[in-house]
Symmetry: C2
């Protein structure tokens, strides 16, 4: 049976790859991915054939990878961060039976982890991961999930906090959290993780509501256990023992 | 200023390490960690000095690593999975100012990602990560967080689902989810991820309530978008477009 590997590449630098991902990409004939991620990986695997497809063409990208795998090539479909979290593993697994291709998913370091490491330790304990993109999930459902995380006292990591069409979504998200936790709750921003221009910043929840995020931003919202310690965003492990 | 590196080692096999973690451990004089993780890493870094401390001695372990770093050694404190998620990054960052040591956190692949990859793609979209350990967080707070995730329609990953003293906690967690989603909701179990005896299993939420988990188990609870496709647990990316 033909095989296709769906590989999480982490933030996009070589050091952020797992050893398993390096071995798998080195063993591949063809590496398929979104243009930006192909460009990030190409210098590290110069002998490999790359097939890049633009953003928003996810299903075409999956079909392309499945077709090439079904034709007998050793193919890796690359995803930024982890292959499963807002990644291509799900649509590939859904389409694979049509192609008779067996899927292996290789996990990677998702932005919740790589961004957290830069900020300190914002998601030490229970947390929610939310995306504010309403391309596939209606905003009403996203708000329901956000409200649940806020009400439940969870820390939160926000992926896709903004785009040109969704300029005010992060503010709406923060307004929901502000109903349940104080404006001085410690929050953090990580930008361009693992890439040129990488930066982090801590700010309050009230300030975050005014922050102009872009698509290279990952947002961290603290809870009642989150502190600023030596400039780092640190969520304590729990109550004092 | 002295430096200490807090390094997430992933599931515990060499292939699960990031390239950055490999380089950092190779550059260390001393590797400090919980006994089990030291034993897992020792074969890959045979020239290194290891200092192992038993489970439950987390604060002593952090102080030991900080003391050695303050004394001028190149020290890495290793954590399973990611260094920040239920890991040592938080207590180390809290204690570091007492030692005048600068902390760098290296992220790793957490069980939510590595377990998900084995099962398919259970956490494709928004999800919560919860621990059922009540050592540091009271059970009443854990139940409040669980209720929020269940009510909000989030997929969930459950760390520490059981121990000898907490034999019925997973059942209590499932009963909360069963108030909000049907008994045939697709769920999954990953055991001994990346180690000998690695296994996965899919089951319904009703079956999960009866499942006897142990401390080597990571649990995945699906939502209304989760399906069984070719034996894999797959959460769809969202509504059909």
């Amino acid at each position: 049976m033909s095989k296709l590997f769906v590989v999480g590449i982490g933030a996009g630098n070589y050091d952020g790859l797992t050893v398993a991902a390096v071995k798998r990409l080195e063993a591949s004939d063809l590496i398929v991915g979104y243009t930006v991620y192909c460009e990030l990986m190409r210098p590290y695997f110069p002998q490999k054939e790359f097939l890049a497809t633009p953003m928003m063409k996810e299903i075409e990208r999956c079909r392309l990878a499945l077709e090439q795998a079904a034709a007998g090539k050793e193919v890796s479909l690359i995803c930024s961060g982890d292959a499963g979290i807002y990644g291509m593993a799900s649509p590939v697994l859904e389409l694979a039976p049509q192609y008779g291709v067996e899927i292996t998913v290789l996990p990677g370091v998702t932005a919740a982890c790589s961004g957290a490491a830069l900020l300190g330790s914002p998601i030490t304990s229970d947390f929610a991961v939310l995306s504010l993109s309403d391309l596939l999930i209606p905003m009403e459902e996203i708000e329901k999930r956000t409200e649940a995380a806020a009400r439940g006292g969870l820390c939160a990591v926000i992926y896709n906090p903004a785009s040109k069409k969704r300029a005010d979504y992060l503010r709406r998200c923060c307004e929901i959290f502000l109903q349940y936790r104080p404006g001085d709750t410690v929050c953090g921003i990580a930008r361009n993780i693992g890439r040129e221009g990488e930066s982090v910043q801590t700010l309050t929840l009230a300030e975050l509501a005014e922050y102009k995020a872009d698509m290279f931003t990952t947002v961290f919202i603290g809870n009642a256990f989150t502190r600023l310690i030596g400039g780092k965003m640190v969520t304590l492990r729990g109550y004092r023992t």
